[in-house]
């Protein structure tokens, strides 16, 4: 929820065992049920500009999430690739990226 406003997501379902966030044409749900926990997913959300990438990263760190890569260009992916990474409470690598294309 800390990063949702920076990733263009809004809350569309909110019950104790299921939370759903929706973007323009996609849904993302967090669930608790009897099935095994999800492990080791990498999620990346798009950002419209570099400032949003920095705001996402700052908001996540201010909320206590672990840094997994500070905002900067990562030219090994492609020139202009500007991303930042944090780990969520389950250790998933969550990124926000502006491709500057």
């Amino acid at each position: 929820m800390t990063i949702a406003p920076h990733a263009g997501l809004r809350l569309t379902y909110d019950e104790p065992d299921r939370v759903r966030l929706s973007g323009p044409d996609y849904r993302f749900s967090l669930i608790h049920d009897e099935r095994p926990l999800t492990e080791h997913v990498h999620l990346a959300f798009p950002a419209p500009d570099d400032a949003t990438v920095r705001a996402f990263h700052a908001a996540a760190l201010a909320a206590g999430y672990e840094d997994y890569g500070s905002p900067r260009e990562r030219a090994l992916y492609h020139p202009g690739y500007y991303g930042a990474f944090v780990l969520d409470t389950d250790g998933h690598n969550v990124e926000i990226v502006n491709h500057n294309r």
């Binding site: 929820m1 800390t2 949702a4 406003p5 990733a7 263009g8 997501l9 809004r10 809350l11 909110d14 019950e15 104790p16 065992d17 939370v19 929706s22 973007g23 323009p24 044409d25 996609y26 849904r27 993302f28 749900s29 967090l30 669930i31 608790h32 049920d33 099935r35 095994p36 926990l37 999800t38 492990e39 080791h40 997913v41 990498h42 999620l43 990346a44 959300f45 798009p46 409470t89 389950d90 998933h92 990124e95 926000i96 990226v97 491709h99």
Partner: protein, 145 residues
Amino acid sequence: MFDHVGIAVADLAASERFYRTVLSVLGAEPSHADAGLVEWEDWAIRPTDREHQVTRGLHVGFRARDRAQVDAFWRVGIDAGYRDDGAPGLRTQYAPTYYYGGFLLDPDGNSVGQSAAISMRLRPSAMSTTCGSASATRRSPGAST
């Protein structure tokens, strides 16, 4: 919503075969493929390494054009020997009228269907944290964009 989603797989060749088989039904072919990464635009699979352990317990949905494409996706997967995680049909528990999905398990046991959605399962403690702040967000719509 997602720029991209990536998973680490126990056997890249086996998982590449699975995703090539089922995603081709949706008209998707890899945009990049080498020994370290296979990508279908915003969906990526990679082998495990010291930093990337195998992804488990994920549900991912790919969008189908129509119900016939859902049927074909599931049938192709079953005929290729992949494990069933739910035959094509309406899922009224997800939406009253329009959610038509079919589900397969990928080689690592992740559930793959067609709902243009990602679901992740969390610990109860993480869930309550998430829900608590989610409610706060909902009460302050100005805080979200």
